[in-house]
């Protein structure tokens, strides 16, 4: 087996709150191979986006990384100084943040925004070179060359999102984190944007972390999926395994809540509400919402166990 490109070990992120400490990411460990597509699924507030920010060391006070290690291609990110970390962002790990299509600068042309990314990372290029690189990048994400001279308001949502992917890949990173890159787009455009992401990822041989809650999208895009609940990973397994044999009751509920096109009937939501992260239930955090909860679930938090290719944190698995 090859060396993982990203390794996250026992990562904990907490936010200080007047009413108590909010444990947004709680002892999360996983590893990613080069070229692998890894999904992170869970409800809002399960810590998916915070985990992404923590990997990039972008957690701001009152939040802080309490414990754990993140290593990228063997380098411990915690040991880097702020300048080195800044250089590494975008160049080695690119983030396509949630709602990034609205993060484009409205008064700059798309081409200028890509050129800024180069300049900011100390890459000095002649004007002709910059133009050529921008044209190549735009072609990679399936946008016409004329897009470079356009302002964000002249583009549709799907085009803006592809422009954001172009910026994210401009330094050919080995790792792309996409946080709900298509949540505001129509299905037809979503497929096109995800197709673009899949293509550039293959060209760059990069690893991708896709964050989202659409299990259909996960099933069609990622190789392996991690399911997060209340800041913890509760199940990690190859995607086909998860779709066909979800082992954690929460994973099962998440899949069942996806509206099906095959049969009409009751829409199945997940009963109850996600717990408050500063006041987690005893034992397994999912037990108050779990239909299979036993006495043991109320008192003892389940540890992550290996079952074949899968890892599951459930007493019943």
């Amino acid at each position: 087996m090859t060396e993982p490109v990203l390794r996250v070990e026992g990562l904990r992120v907490a936010f200080d709150h007047p009413l108590g400490k909010v444990k947004a990411v709680n002892d999360v460990s996983f590893a990613l191979l080069l070229g692998e597509r890894f999904g992170l699924a869970g409800e809002s507030g399960s810590g998916k986006s915070t985990l992404a920010l923590a990997i990039l060391r972008l957690i701001k006070p009152p939040g802080r990384i309490e414990a754990g290690e993140v290593s990228l291609a063997g380098r411990q990110l915690a040991e880097l100084d702020e300048d080195a970390m800044r250089a590494l962002r975008l160049a080695s790990i690119a983030l396509v943040p949630q709602g990034s299509m609205n993060s484009l600068n409205p008064v700059l042309r798309i081409g200028q925004q890509i050129a800024d990314a180069y300049a900011d990372h100390g890459i000095r290029l002649g004007r002709g070179d910059v133009q050529r690189r921008i044209a190549v990048l735009l072609a990679q994400v399936g946008l016409p060359e004329s897009t470079a001279r356009m302002y964000p308001h002249e583009l549709s949502g799907g085009m803006k999102q592809r422009a954001c992917i172009a910026i994210a890949i401009c330094l050919r990173p080995k790792m792309i984190i996409a946080d709900e890159p298509t949540s505001a787009l129509d299905v037809v455009v979503q497929r096109q944007v995800m197709g673009t992401l899949a293509r550039v990822q293959e060209e760059l041989q990069a690893a991708v972390i896709l964050i989202g809650h659409d299990m259909g999208l996960m099933a069609q895009f990622v190789d392996r999926l991690g399911v997060m609940y209340a800041g913890r990973l509760v199940e990690v397994a190859p995607i086909a395994e998860i779709i066909e044999r979800p082992r954690h009751p929460y994973t099962r509920a998440l899949i069942a809540s996806l509206p099906s096109l095959e049969s009409r009937g009751e829409l199945i939501g997940i009963p109850g509400l996600a717990p408050l992260l500063r006041d987690l239930p005893s034992g397994c955090a999912f037990h108050p919402r779990c239909s299979l909860a036993m006495e043991r679930c109320r008192t003892e938090a389940p540890a992550m166990r290996e079952i074949g290719d899968a890892q599951v944190a459930c007493h019943l698995a």
Partner: protein
């Protein structure tokens, strides 16, 4: 059948600015919502298809450029004062953008307490609190976490659920819900849509569910209208439209939904172009530039609506052997069985 709200050959054109083309947002749509048989009618289409324009016209928030919207048989523009008040109570809205609907200076309690006061829903303060609490819990919120907070302290999903709760409070006859769950998690989406469906089944409230998500439309609605760039392309009973779509655009929509299957066919099956290459003002079928079956007839004139099944109509020349359907008879196609 006695219609509560009707759209008659409704169209809307937004004027272009200096030297710019005007935009056709809705082209002659007719639709009728039955006062006696409550149902959930879904309006599905991509961004720019005219869904939100339709919602705004039906709510009387925008003036039609052609045709009219009727409430109990009277044009909205000709309603008396009492008629307007009744309309405002009977027809409620849940909007797409949960950020734009709140006044940031007021606590969220304000949007809930105002209708209670205006429409005298409660006799005492405790009564009002109880009503609001029930509505909030019905959409999966904890009242103690919501009341007393400012809008910026809530997430998009929470704000949207407060808006659904506000519509529930008034027990209207029709709720026009414009993308009510597009900013909510998949797990909660089911809960909110389930409660919308419940409104129809248990409280007799009709719901016009406007969405880009065909899968949720399939789950909760009885009838469906598929819009594409201001035009109605297919309509009918939701079961048949979604399980066997006839219009090429509806087929594209159905195929673009990622399924939670172990078979990965989603990204490989991308065949139809997602780009629009044709000006909106050219003649012929609006979908011709993206259609895999395009023929010369498609470019010559816009297709009529053909009634391919009793509960189904499609605007595509490939079905020209079926009888043509005039817009006034659309209500029959949409009527719940």
């Amino acid at each position: 059948m006695k219609p509560l709200v009707e759209a008659v050959a409704l169209s809307k054109r937004f004027a272009g600015g200096l030297g710019r083309e005007s935009t056709l947002a809705l082209a002659g749509l007719s639709l009728s919502i039955d006062a006696e048989k409550p149902s959930v009618i879904a309006v599905v289409g991509e961004s720019g298809s005219g869904k939100t324009t339709l919602a705004r016209l039906l709510l009387g928030l925008a003036e039609p450029s052609g045709g009219e919207v009727r409430y109990c048989g009277v044009d909205l523009r000709k309603l008396t004062r009492d008629g307007r008040i009744a309309f405002r109570r009977d027809v409620q809205a849940v909007f797409q953008d949960p950020y734009g609907v709140y006044n940031p200076f007021y606590r969220v309690d304000h949007v809930l307490a105002t209708p209670v006061r205006r429409f005298r829903l409660a006799t005492s303060r405790a009564d009002a609190r109880e009503l609001i609490g029930v509505a909030l819990r019905a959409v999966g919120l904890r009242p103690e976490e919501i009341l007393g907070r400012f809008p910026h302290q809530l997430s998009g999903g929470q704000r949207q659920r407060v808006m659904v709760a506000r519509a529930l409070l008034l027990k209207p006859k029709l709720i026009v819900a414009d993308e009510p769950v597009s900013m909510v998690d998949a797990s909660l989406r089911a809960t909110i849509l389930g409660s919308l469906r419940n409104l129809t089944d248990k409280h007799g409230i009709s719901v016009l569910y406007i969405t880009h998500d065909l899968a949720t439309a399939y789950q909760i609605s009885d009838a469906i209208l598929v819009l594409y760039r201001a035009h109605l392309v297919e309509t009918g009973a939701v079961e048949s439209v979604v399980s066997a779509p006839q219009h090429p655009y509806t087929r594209l929509l159905v195929s673009a939904i990622p399924r939670a299957h172990a078979v990965r066919d989603w990204l490989t099956s991308e065949a139809t172009s997602a780009e629009i290459s044709r000006s909106a003002n050219s003649v012929g079928c609006i979908f011709a530039d993206r259609c895999p079956h395009v023929a010369s007839a498609c470019l010559a004139a816009p297709p009529l609506l053909y009634r391919t099944e009793p509960q189904r109509a499609v605007a595509c020349v490939r079905y020209e052997n079926a009888p043509a359907l005039s817009a006034d008879h659309l209500a029959e196609v949409l009527a719940a069985k």
